[in-house]
């Protein structure tokens, strides 16, 4: 595996930073190098929140990239911003629950996934981030799904432990949706 750069972007409160951390923990637990770097400060108040995760087998240089291999866009502004920035041949997963338009760029692999709707079906609105992570692992298998679940189980904060089964379900549903729709 070469280096993979992932940007997860959405509104504050959509769990983008945590989704990135789950990938970071899973990478570390599986012996990979990883960096996680968030947007911070006023940018985060009310506006967008995004993070960049780089996963690699080798020591990582820059923790930031202009053209990421993968973008998980949880809202429309993120889709607008990153559709053109994703690397040629890269992956864009977009939350179609929050907008109604096609992804026009042809030279990337894109997936529209209604994560809010799927989350509601599971019964917890805040699961969109984990559905996205599941979908991404189907399109860009930087790690096996099971390994990422394991990492989530190991690192989820104590107070959220009881939501673990629902988080797993979210990852599964995202993964399956991606497999079915490509």
């Amino acid at each position: 595996m070469d280096e993979t750069s992932i940007i997860i972007s959405g509104f504050g409160g959509q769990g983008t930073l945590f989704a990135g951390q789950v990938l970071a923990y899973a990478s570390m637990d599986n012996g990979l190098e990883v960096t996680w770097i968030p947007s911070y400060g006023p940018e985060m108040r009310g506006g967008t929140a995004h993070c960049t995760v780089i996963v690699s087998e080798e020591a990582i240089g820059s923790p930031l990239v202009r053209n990421p291999d993968v973008v998980l866009a949880l809202n429309l502004p993120s889709v607008d911003k990153y559709e053109t920035l994703v690397k040629e041949g890269g992956v864009l997963v977009a939350n179609s629950s929050l907008f109604d338009r096609e992804i026009t760029r042809q030279s990337i692999k894109s997936l529209l996934i209604p994560v809010n709707k799927i989350a509601e079906e599971i019964g917890l609105a805040r699961l969109g981030n984990m559905i996205m992570v599941g979908a991404m692992l189907a399109l860009k298998p930087i790690l096996p799904l099971e390994k990422v679940k394991e990492a989530l189980g190991n690192h989820i904060p104590e107070r959220h432990k009881k939501t673990l089964p629902m988080n797993f379900e979210a990852m599964d549903k995202g993964y399956r949706f991606a497999k079915d729709h490509l």
Partner: protein, 374 residues
């Protein structure tokens, strides 16, 4: 001990705890606040001292006082806070007491912004405070390096009774990376013989930075200078990447150096013989190594997140042996690997003599880039 996923500011703070810091005095400022917040919980739990001061002015003077007791003490702040601290830093240097000061640099001048920057290079490396003194300045580029060099910073401060700065930027304060923390060090019982602690059964110890007779001050200046010469001889640290056969040398520190390493790797893949020199001690600067490399390479590219501050040092050391070029981003903008890669490409194709001031050639390039980017 296994690696953990650690957030920069927290990791630096915990590294300081494990290096035996006994007191932290600080004032909140983004993007270093998490350092203070971490200490506010951690130090009292260990029975050590934490005070949120009323200002950075007060914080550094608390550090100054505590440093006079010979304990390991520190503060952490960000650019505008450092400006306020410069008074105390000069006093600490003049009194020759050890202290560690972390600067998580942000965009400036003025209130600027909270985005990552290296614009405090002059202030931190060339003094900043008044008078003749020489701070040691360490610039780590990863969470692990920051952890390692915070321990070293305290050791150097003690060894030379000097002020040691650690400069990072908001990227490093905020990022998470797997890293390993060192074991907890014992706090030494012994008080250094110069420290104030109550003159019990001995002559009083007086710690001041005042030398009214200019000759006494000059003798002190000379002592500091000679100590600095020792530091220059013994304490230079840098990292290199792919320099063995390099024809084009990139120089950058901290985040800029780290980003540049990706660009250098890409250049190598494209067959360009690029190499990277990343100073970790900005002061003392790895001058000797740079001189050697200047004899080897065809051209040098300095990359910074400021208007070319380390650049001046590089030009001074390279002495015109080869053309030196510059690429900087300012104001809180972090250059991305593709920008630096494009610069390396350009430099490798440029056989011109190079400008007297590399900024003259860089400014139009940057203007063009900015207008294209927006």
């Amino acid at each position: 001990m296994a690696k953990e996923l650690l957030k920069g500011n927290h990791a630096f703070a915990e590294a300081a705890v494990r290096a035996g810091v006994e007191a932290f005095y600080g004032y909140p400022i983004t993007p270093s606040t998490e350092f203070l917040e971490y200490m506010s919980a951690r130090l009292p739990a260990l029975g050590r001292v934490f005070v949120q001061a009323e200002s950075e002015v007060a914080a550094i003077n608390m550090v100054y006082g505590a440093a006079c007791t010979g304990k390991r003490v520190m503060t952490a702040s960000s650019s505008p806070g450092l400006s306020l601290m410069m008074e105390g830093i000069s006093y600490i240097a003049g009194t020759e007491v050890p202290a560690v000061v972390v600067n998580v640099m942000r965009g400036g001048p003025g209130l600027g912004n909270i985005a990552p920057s290296q614009g405090d290079y002059y202030q931190m490396i060339k003094g900043g405070g008044h008078g003749d003194y020489f701070p040691i300045v360490l610039a780590p580029a990863s969470v692990q390096e920051a952890i390692d060099y915070i321990g070293l910073a305290f050791d150097l401060a003690d060894k030379y009774r000097a002020i040691v700065h650690i400069v990072v930027d908001g990227n490093m304060g905020q990022m998470m990376e797997p890293a390993e923390l060192p074991p907890m060090r014992e706090i030494p019982e012994k008080v250094p013989d110069w420290a104030v602690s109550g003159a019990k059964g001995r002559e009083p110890n007086i710690l001041t930075s005042i030398y009214i007779d200019p000759v006494d001050e000059e003798v002190t200046n000379l002592r500091l200078l000679k100590r600095w010469k020792e530091i220059e001889k013994n304490e230079v640290i840098f990292k290199e990447y792919a320099v063995e056969d390099a024809e084009y040398l990139v120089i950058g520190f901290g985040t800029a150096g780290r980003v540049a390493s990706s660009a250098v790797r890409e250049a190598r893949e494209a067959g360009i013989k690029a190499g990277l020199l990343r100073p970790i001690t900005l002061a003392p600067f790895p001058s000797q190594r740079l001189e050697e490399l200047a004899d080897q390479v065809k051209r040098i590219l300095v990359v910074e997140m400021n208007s070319g501050m380390m650049l001046d040092d590089v030009i001074r050391i390279v002495k015109g042996k080869v053309p030196v070029e510059f690429y900087g981003r300012m104001g809180g903008v972090t250059p991305l690997p593709d920008e630096i890669y494009a610069e390396i490409r350009r430099v490798s194709e440029n056989t011109g003599p190079g400008a007297e001031d590399p900024r003259d050639e860089w400014i139009p390039r940057l203007e063009k880039f900015i207008s294209g980017e927006k």
